[in-house]
């Protein structure tokens, strides 16, 4: 937390006033106590026990009341004042820290949401490109003709595109992982576990090449479903309460319908 120049100046002025005030109080009280501690045992019986005058010596009880108890009271007040001041300062620090954590959490969830959406989009692109590649492989052709040349070109470029998208997915996974590492102290452990599970699963995902040269994107549907579960959770985050809402299982059927509607082929 940075402090501006004007705030520094104000703090200095306030500190000087406080020091002066403490000094004046200290001098006044000690002068008064000097008087009270200066009392001797010989005293006039007509004087009141708490009387302070030129003709009367201060009694033992007067000693206690004016000396010890007043000093104790003043010290108690002083310590209470200091304790209160430091408590206020601590509360301010704690509040600022909590506020910062909330901002970090908001940003992390926002960032994770956008990266997860990008990942979903990327998976869809891989799936579609694999499908185009397989169509190119299966397309009829005559050897040494333009058809064959076009088929080879398509296969090569689509293969490169698949590799490119896979590399992009790896980068996205790295970004999500680093976001998670940076924000794991502010995000709920359950969400951290869920995101970690998705990252682990997608990190191990493969595109298999078959003997007939076609490719298969293994476990695409499951991957998509996992990402949708995660997105659904991230979307339930409220920036007002800074909390994730409970996901009701009743939403499951809706999600399933959405999932199947968007699947072109079911592996």
């Amino acid at each position: 937390m940075s402090i501006s120049f004007s705030e520094k100046k104000y703090l200095k002025k306030s500190l000087v006033i406080k020091t002066l005030l403490v000094f004046i109080i200290f001098v006044t009280i000690t002068s008064f106590f000097q008087l009270s501690f200066g009392a001797s045992g010989e005293r006039d019986p007509s004087c009141h026990v708490l009387e302070i005058s030129e003709n009367c010596e201060l009694s033992g009880i007067g000693h206690l009341v004016y000396g010890d108890l007043t000093i104790g009271g003043v010290l108690a007040l002083l310590f209470h004042y200091f304790a209160h001041k430091s408590q206020v300062r601590l509360d301010k620090i704690i509040f600022a820290n909590e506020e910062q954590n909330r901002r970090r959490k908001d940003f992390a969830v926002f960032h994770l949401k956008s990266q997860t959406t990008a990942m979903l989009f990327n998976l869809g692109r891989i799936k579609k490109t694999v499908s185009f590649y397989n169509s190119a492989v299966k397309s009829p052709y005559q050897p040494l003709t333009v058809e064959e040349k076009e088929r080879s070109w398509k296969m090569r470029t689509l293969n490169e595109r698949i590799r490119f998208e896979q590399d992009k997915l790896t980068r996205l996974l790295d970004i999500i992982r680093s976001t998670l590492v940076g924000a794991q102290d502010v995000i709920e452990p359950e969400i951290v576990g869920q995101i970690d599970g998705v990252i682990t699963f997608l990190g191990e995902m493969t595109i298999e090449e078959k003997p007939d040269l076609t490719m298969e994107f293994m476990k695409y549907r499951i991957s998509k479903r996992k990402i949708l579960y995660l997105l659904e959770k991230l979307k339930s985050y409220s920036v007002d309460s800074h909390e994730f809402k409970e996901i009701e299982l009743a939403m499951e059927n809706e999600l399933k319908r959405y999932n199947f509607r968007n699947d072109d082929d079911k592996n």
Binding site: E190, G193, Q194, G197, G203, R221, R225, L230
Partner: protein, 160 residues
């Protein structure tokens, strides 16, 4: 109490396969399921897609699997292993092994573990054997006048 009124706050599920699945490769193979017992609203809390068991409720789960192992050919001792895989990563200390000698041997290998699973996590039962040519794997049977013996029964219960 009707199914609608019953409050199921813990997830559970039972899955089985009525298909014989053999190790036709030396690589680990995922066991597939083809049926889920429709117990109350259990289908809402755990789902499956072929060999993938999909968790919908985060928690600590007790996983119990019972594959019915068998060997179709050969008379030499051959091992077969079963273990768990969570999110495409093998679960440590979850492997069990059985050695089979001939085709007369039938046995169920209990595989049990407790593990934390989050919403969206996938669980797989993996199988690998010493050889791919002797028909080692899990076998489903249909005895006369008895219920089907599934090749594998898997039970999941949410503990916490």
């Amino acid at each position: 109490m009707s199914n609608q009124n019953r409050d199921l706050d813990k997830a559970f599920g039972q899955f089985s396969s009525n298909k014989t699945q053999l190790c036709d490769t030396l690589e680990p193979k995922e066991l597939e399921f083809d049926s889920q017992e429709d117990v109350l609203d259990a289908t809402q809390s755990i789902d499956f897609d072929k060999g993938d068991i999909i968790i919908k409720k985060s928690g600590i789960y007790l996983v119990i699997a019972g594959p019915q192992v068998a060997k179709l050919r050969g008379a030499r001792n051959r091992w077969i292993d079963f273990w768990l895989r969570v999110n495409n990563v093998d679960l440590p200390n979850s492997n069990v092994r059985r050695v089979l000698t001939d085709s007369q041997e039938k046995d169920v290998i209990p595989l049990n573990t407790v593990c934390p699973l989050n919403r969206g996590d996938t669980l797989n039962i993996m199988m690998a054997s010493e050889t791919e040519s002797e028909g080692i794997g899990i076998e489903a049977m249909q005895p006369d006048g008895e219920p089907t013996i599934p090749s594998i029964i898997l039970t999941l219960v949410q503990l916490h």
